[in-house]
Symmetry: C2
Subunit: 303 residues, 2 copies
């Protein structure tokens, strides 16, 4: 998977940072976390394209996290998208989408499905699940964990050959975890030729929130945690008042959750130079970076 | 007055062009024509500020001309704007603004007044008027002319001194166009010391439209005409179908209206290099430029 930070600003855009939006390219599919104003233009800059299979997960109904949706709909229509667009978010997302369709003049060329979700599994297919968890902001706000299913273990062809299993459909069955029976009557179990199943990857996205253990639970052992760090530690009181986190607080969450890497985003416009945020977070958690717009991060399998 | 082109793209933004929005700084006041997605960020880049006295004139209810409004409201509120924001547009603008207020979570810190206008005077004060005229797009679309009132004529101090009028309040009265009576009983009329009144400036903004004489009438003798040129002349048929103008058609309008200068904007994303548009328009009308994002143009008094 590849994470592309489309927008990393907190509340108000800056010359350097657009509003909240994170893209995840997973095979041919695009997963967007939040869709602040300007997302479509950032997608153009990142050369992502508008006609992929796409799911969008919205954390909360503040403008800087949703106002990129209407323009995205219009541009997708102008480019003749036909694939359904799936949008997940807390209560309110459906009314917002409907209000836009009713008050702005455009003709959709594709269906939109909206799903109002609560804490729990927001989406699940054969390959991955997206969990939602309530966090602690001043309006109902979700964080999301994208968790890939376990992959089958590694297949050892030399073991299969030693056991006299002919290459072909029988190998495929074993790879899929099915028992096979050979011509001579022997039954071969997958574990004789396949290693133990391997964990999928896990990416956790938490936008506006005060520091909360809900994210520690959600982000346990994640490969990547994307966490807001609107303010620096000196403004801890203001962060508390506004329902936001400081850089050090985000790092504490990352440390407790034992994630592999932490990216800070949703940076207040007051930090033209975000190095103070990096400095404060690094003291608590070593594997941290401040996300920048259009930064691309590969998330490899851990083996 | 200073015109700042905030967004000059047609329909879909590009790396180089944001969506339609034109700012006019007139003294301390800001006048915006259209407000496409990304306008607030372009205002930040242009260092315009969010707390000025502001009027916004919307041409039509297509997303690329209105979807910057909601984010602008939110940012103005985050910056504690208190001044009323006045928004003018065709029928539908009020429903759109209300739908946003009802479905996006934010607290406005300032009042918004929306005015649904038809052809005629959309706004008028002591200093200028804004006229609206219907143009010819595929949804109801207005063009706007900002017309300053005539300024009083030039005051000639040497003539006043020759007539024995003491400098001070009597000079001010004459400058304002009032008759005065001197101690010796003589009555002095303003025209004895003040030249003929001088024309104000006129800026005309026409977004999405097919070529139409409505703009010739609206733009008569304008100092500046900002006209869409979505396509080049080779795509005249497509322009006709989509309700747009070509560069040459825009230039024809400028020539017929005898404007001083023409700026082409609303450039289709297909023109990475817009020089073909300039070339085609220049053949018809000499004083033409292709607007670029963040370009600033001074509009002086003509004398």
């Amino acid at each position: 998977m590849q994470v592309i930070f489309l927008g990393t600003s907190g509340g108000i855009p800056t010359a350097r940072r657009s509003l909240s939006a994170i893209a995840i390219k997973r095979g041919a599919e695009l997963i967007l976390f939040d869709c602040g104003e300007g997302t479509q233009r950032q997608m153009i800059l990142a050369k992502i394209g508008f006609c992929r299979k796409t799911r969008i997960f919205i954390t909360h109904m503040h403008g800087d996290h949703v106002l990129g949706l209407p323009g995205l709909f219009q541009t997708m229509s102008m480019l003749d998208r036909t694939k359904r667009l799936d949008i997940y978010g807390p209560a309110g997302i459906r009314n917002f989408v409907e209000a836009i369709m009713q008050t702005v003049r455009f003709t959709l060329t594709f269906p939109i499905a909206t799903y109002e979700v609560e804490e729990g599994i927001a989406y699940r297919d054969q390959e991955y699940e997206v969990y939602a968890a309530w966090v602690n902001h001043n309006v109902p706000t979700l964080a999301y964990a994208l968790v890939e299913k376990e992959r089958p273990g590694k297949f050892y062809p030399e073991k299969a050959k030693k056991l006299g299993i002919p290459e072909g459909p029988l190998w495929a069955k074993l790879k899929r975890g099915e028992e096979i029976r050979l011509h001579d009557g022997r039954v071969i179990r997958p574990k004789e030729v396949v290693g133990p199943s391997r964990p999928g990857r896990k990416i956790v996205y938490s936008s506006d929130t005060k520091q909360t253990d809900a994210i520690v639970n959600l982000a346990k052992n994640a490969d990547l945690l994307i966490h807001e760090a609107t303010l620096d530690d000196k403004l801890r009181e203001k962060a508390e008042e506004d329902g936001h986190s400081t850089a050090g607080q985000a790092a504490e969450i990352a440390a407790k959750a034992k994630v592999k890497r932490l990216f800070l985003f949703h940076i207040s416009a007051r930090y033209e130079d975000p190095s103070i945020l990096l400095e404060q977070a690094s003291k608590v958690f070593q594997h941290v970076q401040v996300a920048e717009d259009l930064m691309k991060v590969e998330v490899p399998y851990s083996e």
